[in-house]
């Protein structure tokens, strides 16, 4: 009790002390799981932070700490930011979920935004992007482009987020190419260039000529480039330095509009806890330029798919879809509800192998 009180008093004291100054400056903290130079996930969150600085200029001050391990270290970093007078803190990895909730309890006046989690509180919002929408477009291109009919997929951790992406890509690859197979390798990391390169090479050796990745570095792109006739997709960030080949398109996380929006809400005093899951339509998920390595008709089909998802006309999980074990999941024309998608822990029919348990 004593400690909580102590912190609360400190926070309160700080709030009072900075109240006069804070009128013109809102302090925003960012906790990153990787280095800002990862070229993927953390890079894009940092781009969002820079966009906030650009947009608000002198009215905001941003701080960030990178490569923060998920666990007690994250808790300390968040506490440090809150003590340092942050008004709003973005915690940008799934593993920061419990630490965020813990720290939020101690600092009721500080707002928290946790990416990709499911625990909320009065001062904790969650936000994520419907990356599976982008995966559908990738799957379509992959299904068309593969000649060996083997698509390699580098998974990070077998969590719903990643499994959703695999399912979405697979469904749309199968739609255009009934013979396509997915080979999935789990790297058990979000960012480890050496491991990611190994995974890519293993997949290429097994005959994959398309590599999809759910890890954050460009190492798989480099591996594909070295191997020759293999195509890849940028993950989280455009990874345009590998265009036009091996990188033929990408999923780009665009956090900037959301971050600006939420900072504005704190400034206006209208910030409320919410759960946001935005996709292509809202602009949180972007599809990077499809290069000329992709035939024009395939490119057109991909863009049409993107547009129909963006307009809400088509949902990437539309029945009939069966689960891997052959049981029915979605009936003809039925679309998946967000609850099922959020906790997705099964493969759809046709994917070989088991989800590691």
């Amino acid at each position: 009790m004593k400690f909580t009180k102590l912190l609360a008093t400190a926070a309160l004291g700080l709030g009072l002390a900075t109240a006069a100054v804070a009128q013109d400056k809102t302090k925003v903290g960012f906790v990153y799981v990787g280095p800002v130079g990862d070229g993927g996930w953390t890079y894009e969150h940092n781009e969002g932070r820079l966009a906030v600085e650009e947009h608000f200029g002198d009215k905001v001050e941003t701080v960030f700490v990178e490569s923060v391990p998920e666990g007690p270290d994250a808790e300390r970093v968040m506490t440090q930011m809150a003590l340092g007078g942050a008004d709003l803190i973005f915690t940008t990895s799934f593993g920061y979920m419990d630490p965020t909730i813990n720290v939020a309890k101690k600092f009721p006046d500080v707002k928290f935004e946790h990416a990709t989690g499911y625990k909320r509180a009065d001062n904790v919002s969650t936000y994520s992007a419907r990356f599976y929408e982008g995966r559908a477009v990738q799957g379509l291109i992959a299904g068309h482009m593969t000649e060996s009919n083997i698509v390699g997929y580098i998974g990070s951790y077998p969590i719903p987020e990643v499994i959703r992406g695999i399912n979405s890509a697979f469904i749309h690859a199968r739609k255009v190419n009934p013979d396509v197979q997915f080979k999935i390798v789990w790297a058990y990391t979000w960012f480890d260039p050496a491991k990611e390169a190994d995974a890519a090479n293993v997949l290429i050796e097994q005959g994959a000529d398309v590599i999809l990745q759910h890890t954050d570095s460009t190492a798989p792109q480099a591996a594909a480039q070295a191997a020759g006739d293999v195509i890849t997709f940028g993950q989280a960030s455009d990874m345009a330095e590998y265009a036009p080949k091996p990188r033929v398109s990408s999923i780009i996380d665009n956090w900037a509009p959301y971050y600006i929006d939420r900072v504005q809400a704190v400034m206006d005093g209208t910030w409320e806890s919410q759960d946001v899951w935005h996709g292509i339509g809202e602009g949180m998920v972007g599809i990077g330029e499809i290069t000329d390595a992709v035939p024009a008709d395939v490119k057109q089909a991909a863009l049409d798919l993107k547009d129909s998802i963006a307009s809400g006309e088509y949902h990437p999980f539309t029945g009939p879809i069966k689960k891997q074990d052959g049981s029915d999941w979605l009936a003809e024309g039925e679309t998946a509800d967000d609850g099922t998608l959020a906790g997705m822990n099964f493969y759809v029919e046709g994917i070989e192998g088991d989800i590691p348990q």
Partner: protein, 360 residues
């Protein structure tokens, strides 16, 4: 011309002075590094070393030093005993993971039963898990003469896979919506390694670390076994003649360091961390090797070194947040510490003579 010659006796003075010189050298070169990155070097160094101890929010950081330092000290004490005897357990990280898994596993098996004996059982299971994991390289070495460095290190990666498997399967929170990671032990009072006095950072792991320091000190200075450990390290042949049984010593040193690493894992998973998750381990087992050497393999030295290491971690985070120093610069800074320590260590066993021209 500079000549390096071996001292007849290792220098007592330098063996004490080296760590201090290494810290000072790290500050100077680190300062230059920070200056090269366009930061004020004095401010950066002050932020790392001063801010956590005496800064505005020291009331929060000081307890955090205990939380961060305790597992390092606990593991390093165990490692140092083996290192002294020339038994190289490099796989404390794996033993730390397995200790956390077995300890948390016992706790979660009792969930939601509230009883006083749950936590002691978890502690025992944690120590046992770490011990058992360390017994693999120990027995392989004793029976087949395998290299314990390689085996213990490789077992870290096996333990990491085991951790992933447990977070996704057996120990997964049944109310976690399919997400990986166990229940949070912080919300299970009987299994929670809570702070003993709120706001002090003092949890059972910190107590255990202090006890381990005292225990190791007594063992090394007052006990036959400690004498044997030191003798084996300094003069293996003499030790053999003195009746030391190497096999017994290997089993003891590896087993004890494994048990302590397992304990550290258990205290971490049931306290500050709270849950078994895929990314549970953050390198304490490896950092503890630095701590053990920084502390000259001496219990009190290790205590101080653990504190210093914790300080650079916490101060480093503050420097990142406040000054915008990149994380990599902090890691280089920490790496320098070991580098300089090893470099200056030369002076303990060798002396540098500036041979004049008259020699030529």
């Amino acid at each position: 011309m500079i000549v390096i010659e071996k001292r007849p006796q290792p220098s007592q003075l330098w063996s004490v002075a080296t760590p201090i010189v290494a810290v000072v050298a790290t500050m100077i070169v680190g300062g230059l590094l920070f200056a090269a990155l366009g930061k004020n070097p004095v401010e950066a160094i002050a932020t790392i070393f001063w801010e956590p101890l005496f800064g505005e929010y020291a009331f929060y950081y000081r307890p955090q030093l205990l939380v961060k330092g305790a597992p390092l000290v606990l593991i390093a004490i165990g490692l140092s005993l083996g290192f002294r005897a020339g038994i190289w357990n490099i796989g404390a990280e794996g033993q730390y993971i397995v200790g956390a898994l077995t300890g948390a596993g016992v706790g979660l098996a009792f969930y939601p039963l509230e009883a006083w004996y749950v936590f002691p059982l978890m502690v025992m299971a944690g120590a046992l898990g770490g011990w058992a994991w360390a017994m693999i390289p120990a027995i392989l070495k004793v029976r087949f003469g395998t290299n314990e460095i390689l085996v213990s290190l490789m077992l870290v990666y096996v333990a990491e896979q085991l951790l992933a498997s447990m977070s996704l399967g057996l120990l997964k929170n049944p109310e976690g919506f399919g997400f990986p990671g166990s229940r949070n032990l912080q919300s299970y009072p009987s299994g929670h390694n809570a702070e003993l006095i709120e706001g002090t950072g003092m949890h059972w792991g910190v107590v255990a670390a202090f006890v381990a320091v005292i225990f190791a000190y007594v063992l090394l200075n007052r006990h036959m076994l400690g004498y044997q450990i030191r003798l084996t390290g300094e003069a293996p042949r003499a030790a053999r003649f003195a009746g030391v049984r190497p096999a017994r010593l290997i089993l003891f040193c590896l087993g004890l360091s494994g048990a302590l690493a397992g304990l550290a894992g258990l205290f971490e998973v049931s306290g500050p961390s709270g849950q078994v998750s895929i990314d549970f381990n953050v390198g304490y087992g490896f950092t503890a090797i630095i701590v053990a050497f920084l502390g000259r393999l001496h219990p009190v030295g290790i205590l101080l070194a653990g504190g210093l290491m914790a300080l650079t971690y916490i101060g480093g985070e503050i420097a990142q947040g406040n000054l915008g120093l990149p994380a990599a610069a902090i890691q280089v800074f920490q790496g320098m510490l070991l580098f300089f320590l090893l470099a200056f260590d030369l002076l303990t066993n060798y002396r540098i003579r500036f041979a004049g021209k008259e020699v030529a």
